[in-house]
C-alpha cells in the first residue's frame, strides 16, 4: 500500500496506521475516515501527496 506525505513532513504509512487517532494498522490512505486529519499539523487529507 502506498504512503502519503503531508506538507508538514508527516508520512502516513498504511502499515502503521494512526492508532492514537483510531486508525488501525493496515488501513489504506483511501480508507481513512473522512474527518481524519494530519496528527502533526491538522491539515486535511487532500493536502497529502503520494510518495
Amino acid at each position: 500500500m502506498k504512503k502519503f506525505l503531508c506538507p508538514c513532513g508527516y508520512e502516513y504509512d498504511p502499515a502503521l496506521g494512526d492508532p492514537d487517532n483510531g486508525v488501525a494498522p493496515g488501513t489504506a490512505f483511501e480508507d481513512l475516515p473522512e474527518d481524519w486529519v494530519c496528527p502533526v499539523c491538522g491539515l486535511p487529507q487532500e493536502e497529502f501527496t503520494e510518495m
Binding site: 506538507p7 508538514c8 502533526v40 499539523c41 491538522g42 491539515l43 493536502e47
Partner: protein, 397 residues
C-alpha cells in the same frame, strides 16, 4: 508610539532598523524588519499579535503608555513564533487572566515555548467574535502557512485582514504603508521573503488564496506582521503570490559556483557568455556562493528556469559551500527547474558527479554529466565552456 490605521485600529508594533539576521543566522535581513502589532479599540479592546521576544518588555511598556492594559478584553495570537508572540510573557505577567484567542496548534506552540498555562480560547476557520459597534472578528486557519498554528483574522466593516506572516517583508520603514516606500526595495524584500520562507508551501498557498477569495470578504487592507501594510491596491500582492505559487519562473539562468584557483570561476563566466550568445533575451546572473548572501541566491534560483552549479574537486567531492546551497534549494522543494554542472579538477575530478547527485536529490532535472576541465581551462576548453552555455539554453527549450 501608536499609529492610526483606520477607524479604531492602531499599529502598536516595533520597527527594528538594526536586525541583520533572523531565524538564528539563517535569513539575512539587510533592510531590518518590523514586528507589527495591532490594537483594535471598539466596545471591546483587542490586541492582535505582539513583537519579537527581545523587544517584549519595551513593547509592553510602550503599550501601557497608550492604554490601561487592564482595558484589553482579549488578545489574538495569529501565530506562535517568537517574532509575534514575544510580547506575551511580559504582557501576561501584568494582565494574567486575559484570554488569548488562537488555533489549537498555537496552544501547543505557545505552551511549548513559554511553559505557561494562559487562558487559551481555541478558534477554527469561520469562528466569529462580536467586538461591538457592529463589528466582528472572523478567524481563518492558515495551517502550514507557514507553521501548523498559523491563522489570519478579519475585521468586518473596516475590511482589514490581519494576515500575519503572509504578504510580509523583512523591511524596516517608518512609513507603514506600501504606497509610501521605494517600490523596488519593497518588492525585492517581498519576493525574497516568499522565495526563502513560503516556496515549500506553494501548492497549499495557491489553494488557500482561492479559499480566501471564495469567502468573498472585501479586503481593503492587508495588515501584515512584517514590513509594510498593503492599503494601496492590496490585490496586487495577492496576485503576485498567486503567480509565485505556480512554480514561478522568469526568463533567467543563474550560475552559482565556488572556486579555489579561479579555474571554475573562469568556466562560470564563459558559460554565461555562451548563454548570452545563444539567447541575449535571457537574464544571466553569476554568483560566487562563498561571497554571496545565500538568501539572495535562493531568490535568484526561485526566478530561474535553469541553475548552473560549479565547483572544483576537493577531497573527491565538491566544496562544502556548494553542498550547503544545494541543501537550501532542496529545502525549498523547487519544482520544474533544470540544472547543469561544471567544475575544474587536478586529478580525480568527482565534483561534477557529486553536484549532479545532490541536485537530483533536490528535485532538479540535471542535463548530461556536466563540464569537467582538468587544471586551468585553456583557450580550447574556454570555447568548450561557451558551447556548454549554448547547450544549456537549447536544453531548457
Amino acid at each position: 508610539m501608536k499609529k492610526h490605521i483606520k477607524s479604531n485600529v492602531y499599529w502598536v508594533g516595533k520597527v527594528d532598523w538594526e536586525l541583520r539576521k533572523f531565524h538564528g543566522e539563517e535569513y539575512s535581513t539587510n533592510k531590518g524588519s518590523t514586528y507589527n502589532s495591532y490594537l483594535v479599540q471598539e466596545e471591546k479592546t483587542v490586541l492582535i499579535d505582539t513583537v519579537w521576544l527581545p523587544y517584549g518588555i519595551e513593547f509592553v511598556d510602550n503599550l501601557a503608555k497608550e492604554i490601561d492594559l487592564n482595558k484589553i478584553d482579549f488578545i489574538v495570537a495569529n501565530h506562535g513564533e517568537v517574532d509575534h508572540s514575544g510580547g506575551l510573557p511580559e504582557l501576561m505577567k501584568r494582565i494574567p487572566n486575559t484570554p488569548i484567542y488562537c488555533t489549537a496548534n498555537a496552544v501547543k506552540s505557545l505552551k511549548g515555548q513559554f511553559h505557561q498555562d494562559w487562558d487559551f480560547r481555541v478558534v477554527k476557520t469561520g469562528d466569529k467574535i462580536d467586538i461591538g459597534n457592529g463589528k466582528e472578528l472572523i478567524f481563518v486557519e492558515m495551517t502550514m502557512l507557514h507553521w501548523p498554528d498559523s491563522m489570519a483574522t478579519y475585521l468586518t466593516s473596516d475590511n482589514i485582514l490581519f494576515c500575519n506572516d503572509a504578504f510580509g517583508q523583512h523591511y524596516a520603514t517608518e512609513a507603514l504603508y506600501n504606497d509610501l516606500v521605494d517600490q523596488a526595495e519593497m518588492f525585492n524584500e517581498a519576493i525574497k521573503y516568499y522565495a526563502n520562507i513560503l516556496t515549500p508551501f506553494s501548492a497549499m498557498l495557491a489553494k488557500k488564496l482561492e479559499d480566501i477569495i471564495a469567502l468573498g470578504l472585501p479586503i481593503e487592507i492587508l495588515a501584515t506582521s512584517h514590513g509594510v501594510i498593503w492599503r494601496d491596491n492590496p490585490m496586487q500582492i495577492i496576485e503576485k503570490y498567486a503567480a509565485w505559487a505556480q512554480d514561478y519562473q522568469e526568463n533567467q539562468i543563474t550560475i552559482i559556483y565556488d572556486t579555489m584557483s579561479n579555474g571554475t570561476k573562469h568556466l562560470a563566466e564563459k558559460i554565461g557568455e555562451g548563454i548570452q550568445l545563444a539567447d541575449s533575451d535571457i537574464t544571466v546572473k553569476i554568483y560566487n556562493i562563498a561571497k554571496s548572501d545565500q538568501n539572495d541566491v535562493i531568490t535568484e534560483v526561485f526566478k530561474s528556469k535553469t541553475v548552473v552549479m560549479g565547483s572544483p574537486t576537493i577531497s573527491n567531492s565538491m566544496l562544502h559551500t556548494m553542498a550547503g546551497i544545494i541543501h537550501l534549494m532542496k529545502e525549498m522543494k523547487f519544482k520544474n527547474k533544470k540544472a547543469a554542472v561544471f567544475g575544474c579538477y587536478g586529478w580525480s575530478g568527482e565534483s561534477t558527479k557529486a553536484l549532479k547527485e545532490h541536485l537530483e536529490s533536490a528535485g532538479f532535472e540535471v542535463m548530461d554529466e556536466g563540464l569537467r576541465i582538468q587544471w586551468q581551462p585553456d583557450e580550447e576548453q574556454q570555447l568548450a565552456a561557451i558551447e556548454f552555455g549554448k547547450k544549456i539554453v537549447s536544453n531548457q527549450k
